[in-house]
Symmetry: C2
Subunit: 165 residues, 2 copies
């Protein structure tokens, strides 16, 4: 299936949290998100890359207004599971390339990442699906990111507010 | 929007690769996926969690038949960007909970992760979207994973082959 990019989405109401060096054993991810769900925290992206030496990091994003509450929860979880640290950043935003057939998307992904790199925009987190490639970048780079992505993918000037996608 | 789970998808044609400790600066992700795209490697999941001390790891999954070729490419990239290592595993598979409204999905995610933990299934990688929560697990745990997820989400016995979703 050909990949077809149909739009750029932006979400500036994002804060990221990472819990570092959790034990890589069953039940840890369940605990982290169970505690967040219990407090009705809506989680947007959940990103966990491959474990290394029996440890892993788990990152997720939430609305900025949920950062303080989420950090309280995560610091309690950190104690309970014996993680190394909890770090966060509210000066981030999510920019996404939206389309179809993005599954076989190394070409579209490479194009998106190159476009951001061409403007010296650092990519902090990456998550993909069949219909979306999302990058967490610094919030103050969002305007430039949306512009270069529109130009790169030859799209019109409007971008979706991510909530509408 | 209420989260509604409509099915379980499985993809056993998965191999994972992680390039460890790449410099956290613009252009690195572009290089990794540019090289893979140049060789027409179809990438499924791309997962990059938060950077730590100016380094990051980038993980991705591909079809098992592309593992050898991808490893050659990645080892060359590793030299070129000064990464620490490239690791891989072909004994993995991807299990996903599919639905709608998964965006505000800490509850659905917690439920999925708890279900897997209840069968002692370790979650190696996690990636989410509005319509899908995907976990990379050991391939030999897939059958058990699909069963417990069907029971947990009270779905019928059939699971989607992920290519059809
Ligand atoms: C790190 C965390 O995901 C753990 N592997 C688990 O299964 O819960
Ligand atoms: C690590 C890698 O994603 C890097 N930050 C980049 O922007 O390319």
């Amino acid at each position: 299936e050909e990949a077809l990019v149909t739009g750029i989405a932006e979400d500036i109401d994002q804060a990221k949290i990472t819990i570092l060096d959790v034990p890589d054993r069953p039940g840890i991810a369940a605990k982290v998100f169970g505690e967040l769900a219990r407090e009705s925290i809506n989680v947007d992206m959940i990103i966990q890359s491959a474990p290394i030496r029996d440890k892993n990091d788990i990152s997720f994003t939430i609305a900025k207004s949920d950062l303080e509450k989420s950090l309280k929860i995560m610091n309690k979880v950190k104690e309970e599971v014996g993680a190394k640290d909890v770090i966060s950043d509210k000066n981030v935003a999510k920019v996404s390339v939206v389309g179809v057939g993005m599954r076989t998307h190394s070409g579209v992904a490479a194009k998106m990442f190159s476009a951001l790199a061409s403007k010296d925009i650092n990519i902090e987190m990456i998550s993909t699906s069949e219909i979306k490639i999302s990058c967490i970048i610094k919030k103050d780079k969002m305007e430039e990111a949306v512009k270069i992505l529109h130009d790169t993918f030859e799209l019109g000037k409007t971008s979706y507010k991510d909530k509408d996608v």
